[in-house]
Amino acid sequence: MKHTLSMLVENKFGVLARVAGLFSARGYNIDSLTVSETEDPTVSRMTVVVNAQDERILEQIKKQLHKLIDVITVHDFLKKEYIDRELVFVKIEADKKRQAALAKTVKKFSGVLVEKKAGVVIVEIAAGQQDVRRFLDEIKDLKIVELVKSGCIAIAK
C-alpha cells in the first residue's frame, strides 16, 4: 500500500540523510520525496511517498523516523483526510493534429500547454497522485520525450 508520510523536521544539514537512511538501510525505495521550508524558517516539511511491501516494516520505520532527534512530527496520511498535489512537466512529440487532441486532454486535467514548438509541446499539470496517473495513462500513446515530476506534497484538510 502507498503511504504519504508528512513530517516536520529541523531545518538543518544532515536531516535528509538521517531520514533517507532509515529507508535505504532496509533496501526500501522511496517513490517520491519533497523538502521545503515552512512558515517557520527553522522547520522544514518533508513529504515522503513510499510503497510499503510490508505494513509492519513501515510501522517500524515510522516509529524510527519519530525517534530521530531532528524529526519533530510524523504523520501518515490516510485516505480523504488530506489533499495532495504533484507538479508534472511532460515534453511530448506531437504534430499539429495531435496537439489539438492533447489540448483537450490537458484542459480536462486543468493543465496548461506551457511551450509549443513545431512538433514538441511541454505540458504542465498540477494534480493529485491519482489524477497524475490517469493523465499519464490517457497520453500513453504519444511519444514522451521527457517527464519531470516534483514529487508529491500534501496538506491535511
Binding site: 529541523e10 544539514f13 544532515g14 538521517r18 516509529k63 532527534i69
Partner: protein, 558 residues
Amino acid sequence: MAVMNGAQILVECLIREGAQVIFGYPGGVMLPVFDVLYDAKIKFILTRHEQGAAHAADGYARATGKVGVCMSTSGPGATNLVTGIATAFMDSIPIVAITGQVKTALIGNDAFQESDVTGITRPITKHNYLVKDVKELARTVREAFYIASTGRPGPVVIDFPVDVQTAKTEFTWPPSVSLRSYQPRYDGHPGMIKKAGKLIERSARPLVYVGGGVISSGAAPELLAFTEKIGAPLTTTFMGLGAFPSTHRMSLGMLGMHGTAYANHATMESDLILAIGARFDDRVTGRIDAFAPHAKIVHVDIDPTSISKNIRVDVPIVGDAKRVLPALGKAVKKAPDIKAWWEMIEKWKKEFPLRYKSDDHLRPQYVVEQIYEATKDRPTIIATEVGQNQMWACQWYKYKEPRTWLSSGGLGTMGYGFPAAIGAQMGCPDKVVFDIAGDGSIQMNIQELATAVNNKLPVKIAILNNGYLGMVRQWQELFYKKRYSGTPLKNPDFVKLAEAYGAKGMRITKKEEVPGAIQEALATDNVVVMDFVVEPEENVFPMVPAGEALNRMMNGMA
C-alpha cells in the same frame, strides 16, 4: 564571560558536564584540544588503540551509570572508534565520542586523514553533530550529554574540525537543554497500566522478563518490590543480568539461546509475560512464531520503537521502568494465586538444572564458579569477551547487583571485555574487576595491557584457553560435521606476554590449582593475566539451535 577558543570551550564543557576522565588517542587535528588537556582538571587515559578508548568509555559508563567520554583524531582515529560506538549503540550505553576533523574548508576534499565521520556513524549513534561554528559548541556539548543520558541512552558523536578548535568566542554555558523534537515519555499511560494490573490479577502463569532497560533506568529496587508483591517468577535477558539478584528464590536466571532450561520452559508455558525494558531479541525468542504461544504480553519500554517490533504486544506501556513499576504494582490489588505454577517451575528446576561434567578435568565452567566463590563477598565487576567465555560467565557467575556485568550483548564484539574492564576499574577503583576472556577474544585488544599497567588499573584477566575460537568451533561440531575451519588457534605464551607488558602472568593447568591461583591474583596489586588451560572441546549447554523454538533445547548431557 571570558573569550576562549574551541578547544578550551570543549574541555570546560566536559568538566561542567561532570566528566572526570577521557579515554582516547591524540593526532594531528586534535592538537589544540590535547594542548588544553595538558593542564586541565580532567584525567586523560591514553589507550593503545582507539577501539580500546571507546570500549573503556563504555565500560566506565556501564559500571558507574555516568556518561563515558572518548576522543580520537580524524580519519583512522575516528574509524577505529566505530566498533566501540556501535557496541554502545546496540546495548543503549551513554557515551560521548569526540572526533577531530580536518579544517572545515577542506571537508569533502579527500584531505589527509579525512573521513566522513557523521556519515559513517549516523546509523550507529543516537545522534551526531558536526560543529561548524565555535558559537554552537557549548550548546552542542550540552545537548550531546543530555541526549546520550536521557530516554533510551546511547552514544553521541561530536565531530570537531581543527579550525573550530582554534576559533575564539565569548564562552556562555547554556543554562538548560530543551529540544522540541526530543521529549522522552517517562510516565506510563494510566489506562494501560490499569489494564496490565487486571491481567496480572487474573493470570495463572505469569512471568517477569527483564532486560537491560531496568539497569539503565536504575529501577532494580522497584523491580524487586514489584516482583515480590506479585509473587511471580522472574527471568532476565543477557543485558538484564544484575537487575535482579540471581540468588533470589524467584529468579530463574537467564533465558534464551543459552539460558536455563527452566527459564525457557517457563517462557513457553507462561500465560502472561511482563516484559520490562527488554526487546525480544532473536537470541531470546528463538523461533519467533513459536514464542510463548499461550502468553498475553505486557511490554514496558521507554523506546516506542522496541514495542511490537518482533512480537505483537497486547498491552504496550511506553515509559521509564523506574516510574512504571511502582504504578504497575499499585494497579495490582491482589496478587494472583499461582501455587500450581510454582510447582511446575520447581519441577523443571529439579529436572533440568544447569550442570557440567564434574570430574578431575579443568573445565571452564569450574573456573567461572571459582571466581564467583572467591569474589562473592566483595564488590566485584565482571566484564567478558564474546563467545563461550561470555556464555559461561552468564551461566556460572551469580550477579546480584546492577552494573556488575559488562558484556557486549547486541553487537557481540570480541575484544570488548578487557578495555571495558579498564574503564570500569577507572570508575570504580575500590572494586575487583575481572575480564573473563577466551584465548581468541583477548588478543583483539591485548595491546591495552600497556594502558592497564601504566595507569595502575589492576584488572584480573581470566583467559579460558581452549585453543579454539570456541563458540564457532562448537557450531562446527554440532552443525558442520566437526570441520574446524578457521577456528584452531596457535597462541602466544600469555604468561610471557603479560610479563613483557609489566603485568603478572600465571598459567593454571590443573583443577586443584584454580582456587589458589584466583586468591593469588586477588592478592596482587597489579594487572594479572591468568592463562587457564581448559578442556579444549567443552561446549556451552543448554543450547537452542538458531531458528528453533525456545523449548527445543540441546542439553548436551543426555
